[in-house]
Amino acid sequence: MNAAYALLDDPQSWAAFSKPFNSVPSPDAASSATWESQVVVQGMHCAACALNVEAALCSVPGVKQATVNGATHRAQITWSAHEVRPSQWLDALSRAGYQAVPANDFVSRQAGQAQVRQQLWRWLVAGLCMMQVMMYAWPVYVAEPGDIAPNMLSLLKWASWVLTLPVMFFATDVFTKAAWRDLKHGRISMDLPVALGIWVTFIVSSAAVFDPDGLLGGEVYFDSLTMFVFFLLTGRWLETRLRERTAGSLEALINRLPQSVQRQTKQGGLETVALHQLRVGDVLQVHPGEVFAADGELLQGHTWVEEALLTGESAPLERHAGDTLMAGSHNLRETIHMKVLRLGEHTRYADIVRLMQSASLHKPRLAALADSVAKPFLAAVLLAAGLSAALAWSTSPGHALMVAVSVLIVTCPCALSLATPAAMLAAAGRLARQGVLLRNVQSLEGLAQVDAVVFDKTGTLTEDRMVLQTLITPQGVWHLNDAASPLPSAVLKLAASLARHSVHPFSRAVAQLWPQTEDCLPMQAVQEEVGQGVSGRVVNDQGQAVRELRLGALAFCQSGQAPCLVPLKALTAQVHLCDDNGWLASFEFLERLRDDAVQSLQALQDQGLKLFLLSGDTAAAVDRIANRLQWPQAQVQARCSPEGKLQFVKNLQAQGLHVAMVGDGFNDMPVLAGAHVSFAFGEAVPLAQARSDVVVQGHHLMAVADTLALAQRTQTVVRHNLIWAATYNAVCVPLAFMGYLPPWLAGLGMALSSLVVVLYSLQLARPPRTNTLATQKG
């Protein structure tokens, strides 16, 4: 039996994915005899699979019912706690070839499901009643006056009235409640004119049914009313569906971590424990197909992983012993052992989820903005409706009120308020699927205005990872290529002990030269000077700080207390190590240009952008890269301090350029904050700290060009949306005002205009067909 499933036999754990199956909720839920559980089934491909899963589950005695949804890959199982345990039916499932994990979001999903059902119910009520009311209205439209007997006419009106009641009670409550809630809080929202229109129509028509000779006349508008409500609900239904499609990747991301893992015991055996029992330093065994539960290090073996949802990198990635594994990514090939380095809150996965949640939190602010613009507009609409009713009042009060209703409905600025957020959400959803995260949806506006892009070199144009080329010490020179002579371990250990306190790409490269982290020397008073180097004191066995070490740029090492005389042949190396007594070693690293660097820069240039290259590195190193990229000399600047980079960007901004800064997020904090928009780039960006507007994960530089191109397309779509919505209102309002637009047509227009906006925005959600999307500027 699968040990992970045995954990689920504990009744305490049932509540997470099950609820007691009782028609009457019992106060003591745990004592319930029958439970209803939900699991997510993996490996299901078609509807036939769904039937197999059902059959497998139902074959277990004690399982009363099992239903599988092929679309959501979820199985709902009703089972008796007296006869069977979850592990038994989960085992039956795995014997049939399907793995299942408990659906821990069961309760919250049920709330969502109830909402979807309610929405469907409203729509069906409105649709059915609309059709039948139309049947009763039709004879009146086609017959000559006098053809239908008066009591038959009144019977038809009564029948329409009765069938409008369900619409008023079940279908329109969503508008009425929202309008009422906003009124109570002193707000005016778009639901108000809609609710007002519905109720005015209903009252006018009801008065005509009960008192045909009264002030409001004998005309009924039930057909208009029900049709209007039906169109509106249809529009909302489609809108919700479309929005789910564009912003749906978040949910897939959140429900990723396994609930139980296999941990190695001290004796070398394996035990199955729940996720929350894990501690940093534990060793886990992960099978192919499983998801890594924590950030960690691959201890032995070699496998392939898939990190698509986390980094946007869709191809499987090879991982060797010592490589980092990310929580939330999939193990594809081999059973491996990993050591847990970070858990829960501290994993990169948690950072990504938090970032995406905060980006989606910005939505209400956007909606509030739309509402605040809509407020004066709505006041004007109400005024106009009142005015139109007053003008026509003398001829026929009932007709006058219906003109007012048409004005109310047709002017509703739904399309106008959807124009911006619909496009931006669609674009943000697509970027998220490619591993580009927006801190805030509005930054798309800033991105669209960019006309200059400033690149940092290290970790941006080049890969984060550095390869040691040469090591120079007083004892001699080591080259990477002659593997015969082993590197001097004493100096490597010293350097790595200090370097592992820093996340600068050079520091990480130095730290990797000494992988045995457990016997690194303890350090005290470690200080990093951004972009320059790191210093600290070695602690001896008695716990006293003894010698000071400095690791970093030449100037940084020479600024220490002791004179650091670097021999001439080592002067061009990138990283130097010295202590109180002077120079110890110099490391020369080779940078690797990113594979798509040339292509991306070409794409950016094709978009008409000015490109600049800034680096804190030596002129020689920067020139090497600039030459390989054929970068014009005038737009390259080497040896920049962080302040210097900021100054450079400020100078560009003074020339009226909109500057986007692309950096690795470690050394460029001030300049990233100073630019109009900023990209933090690279695999190891500390997301929680990155203050950039856009976080690009993975290692495709092309993502920068794609994002800028998409931002411009988004701007175009927003502009088209706004023009279309404004035109629609400008044409329809005078028509309604003059009484040419019956309420049902106004409702159809309103629903259609919103749908057009949403559908038009959807073009942004489509993934690019080719990699050269950026070149098709538009």
Binding site: G70, L120, P166
Partner: protein, 45 residues
């Protein structure tokens, strides 16, 4: 045409019954997992 005086109220009652049936169907989840049920008939057991 007097039969209309019976048929029209009858149609109202009929629609109300259909609404009740729909309420049951929606809240029992009959509109979820639409494809699976159709293929149930192809199952060989």
């Amino acid at each position: 045409m007097d039969i209309l005086y019976l048929l029209i109220p009858l149609s109202v009652v009929l629609v109300l019954f259909v609404l009740i049936a729909l309420w049951w169907a929606v809240h029992k989840g009959q509109f979820e997992a639409m494809e699976g049920e159709g293929e149930r008939i192809l199952r060989n057991d």
